[in-house]
């Protein structure tokens, strides 16, 4: 299986504070990688480095064999990586259909059609409908995003990222702020959607170790900016020292 993302000795320092130290790992085709770690371990910094938002102080970030260090979200979206945010990012006054259409139009390269009708673009509208159906939002296509429930906003945020037809999708705590009962159903929709959309790899940043245990094919644990462990779930949860460091006193499994 080919490597999609690779970081090599990535270090990111802010003045004197070092957020990431020598982080190296790979994401290969077909994998579901969870990034875990206590608060302040460097997860957000890593995500921002992976999505090209931050340029590492040293080290390499490669996406599909191209240098992706600090290339920015737009270029990365074009290359095939999408990101859904921890805090819900929506376009409040746009409808569900319009929100998804933003991604579809940009992915199809139709953003510069100044005088073409968006509503009359069958290609865009068909894909908008398909994406909405996958996420169970097809009945809300004409609803303004700000009027959706919190869970629906989350789904819409993720749906618009999927509408880019990414090869890799990065989910930054997709279930934060969602009730425990809804977490699993959201994750199930996500994984099913990823399969349907032909997503080759998923990166999940998550606090909830139940979700991590259930869905991951590999777990990358960060502690104080370093990679503490890079293991399959079985090995990860069987190592009491690692579990204690990452999960804390709470014992699972």
């Amino acid at each position: 299986m080919s490597t999609l993302i690779q970081t090599l000795n990535v270090t990111k320092a802010y003045e004197k504070f070092v957020a990431l130290r020598d982080v190296s790992f790979e994401v290969r085709e077909g994998e579901f990688i969870s990034i875990v770690g206590p608060n302040g371990a460097g997860k957000t910094t890593l995500v921002n480095v992976l999505t090209g938002l931050l340029k590492p102080t040293s080290g390499q970030v490669r996406f599909k064999d191209q240098d992706a260090a600090g290339i920015g979200p737009v270029r990365l979206a074009q290359l095939g990586m999408a990101r859904a945010f921890q805090l819900v990012h929506i376009f409040p006054a746009l409808t569900v259909g319009e929100t998804i259409a933003v991604a579809v139009a940009s992915q199809l390269g139709r953003s510069r059609r100044l005088f073409a009708s968006l509503a009359g673009d069958a290609g865009i509208q068909k894909r908008v409908r398909t994406v909405a159906e996958i996420f169970g939002l097809e009945r809300k296509l004409d609803a303004e995003s700000r009027l959706l429930s919190q869970g629906e906003k989350k789904l819409l945020d993720i749906a618009s990222a999927f509408a880019l037809r990414p090869e890799v999708i990065l989910l930054d705590e997709p279930t934060s702020g969602v009730s425990t009962g809804d977490k699993h159903s959201i994750m199930q929709v996500l994984v099913a959607a990823a399969r349907q959309a032909g997503v080759k790899a998923i990166i999940l940043v998550e606090h909830d170790m139940d979700l991590v245990a259930e869905y991951s094919s590999r777990i990358v644990a960060l502690q104080e900016g370093r990679v503490l462990a890079d293991l399959p779930p079985a090995a990860f949860f069987n190592d009491p020292a690692i579990v204690a460091a990452i999960v804390g006193k709470r014992t699972t499994h």
């Binding site: 990012h89 929506i90 073409a116 009708s117 509503a119």
Partner: protein
């Protein structure tokens, strides 16, 4: 469909107006057409992209001075040439101004555009040999579609051929803008207004699209400026002064920037309100300011917002009760 019919009806009324309205009011319609076109462009930047410029009088000025330079310096009379030259001139100036300005948003964008506007005004004011300084530059009667109309007296020209010419121009400018705001391009602008960070992650090149909106708005403003200058026969530095930029903002807020027709309604209301107030009192500026304050406080969505609310109340009174309640609560209706 209903809104399409309404627009067609309005255009028909405007087309028939010269048959019924007096000459004085018809001459006021020319600045209305001019501001209507300018503000359609201005609102692509403000209402749709979320960038409030306090310097767009600069581009109105470019249109006016293009009309002056072509007619009185180059001796050419074609108004079509004037329109093209205005748009091209505004486009070329808007590239550097826009590139520098769209790096910022909100108040910083506003202040930067204000600064560029003032820079241009002082250029017009100081370079007397080129621009005529505070006296401005004369704009001679242009020909329309190759027709020489210099034998008509001024009022006959403005209320006759030029009236219809500007009406058609507003129609085309409106149609082009309508298509733009309903295109994938327009959707990207709205996405940028709503959440630029999110838009970026969906592959939208935020700065580039802000620049596109800036360029288009500049061209619309310049065409409006050319019409204004023809109607007065003068390219006046006041047209590029910052208070004039403020008037553009005033008109859009008055009409309602959240609505496509808001700028047009704003231009119309502003011109006739100003005219009425000026004939009533010398303190018309005070009353104009008070009007704006009241509009912002009472109807933040402008006159179009007010009209929509009235229309909505009217329709809601007809609609069955349950739907009305769900609408008022902001909860969505479930499809049957």
């Amino acid at each position: 469909m209903r809104s399409h019919l309404l627009v067609l009806l309005l255009l028909a009324v405007l087309a028939l107006l010269p048959q019924v309205a007096g000459q004085y009011h018809l001459t006021l319609m020319i600045p209305f057409f001019a501001y209507g076109i300018a503000l359609l462009g201005f609102n692509l930047l403000f209402g749709y992209t979320g960038l409030l410029s306090f310097g767009h009088a600069l581009f109105v000025g470019i249109g006016a001075y293009a009309a002056a330079a072509i007619t009185s310096k180059l001796g050419l009379r074609s108004f079509e040439l004037i329109l093209v030259a205005s748009a091209v001139g505004a486009f070329l100036v808007a590239i550097p101004v826009g590139l520098l300005s769209v790096r910022y948003t909100k108040i910083f964008f506003g202040m930067l555009t204000l600064a560029f506007g003032m820079l241009f005004h002082s250029f017009l004011f100081k370079f007397y040999d080129i621009t005529g300084g505070d006296g401005g530059m004369r704009v001679l009667r242009p020909s329309l579609l190759g027709m020489d109309l210099s034998t008509l007296d001024k009022t006959a020209f403005l209320t006759g051929p030029f009236y219809y010419y500007c009406l058609v121009l507003l129609g085309f400018a409106g149609l082009a803008m309508w298509r733009m705001v309903n295109s994938p391009f327009g959707l990207h602008l709205k996405a940028i207004r709503e959440n630029p960070r999110k838009a970026e992650y969906l592959g939208v090149r935020v700065r580039l699209y802000r620049l596109f909106a800036f360029l288009i708005s500049a061209m619309y403003c310049a065409m409006g400026g050319a019409i204004l200058a023809v109607s007065t026969g003068l390219a006046d530095p006041e047209l590029a002064y910052w208070t004039h930029s403020g008037n553009l903002v005033f008109m859009v807020v008055l009409g309602g920037f959240a609505n496509f027709l808001g700028p047009i309604v704003g231009a119309f209301s502003f011109i006739f309100l100003q005219d009425q107030l000026m004939s009533l009192t010398q303190y018309w500026r005070f009353f104009l300011g008070a009007t704006l304050a009241l509009i912002v406080i009472l109807f933040p969505r402008g006159l179009m917002g007010l009209l929509q609310d009235l229309g909505g109340r009217f329709r809601a009174a007809e609609a069955p009760a349950p739907q009305r309640i769900s609408h008022e609560l902001g909860t969505e209706r479930v499809n049957p």
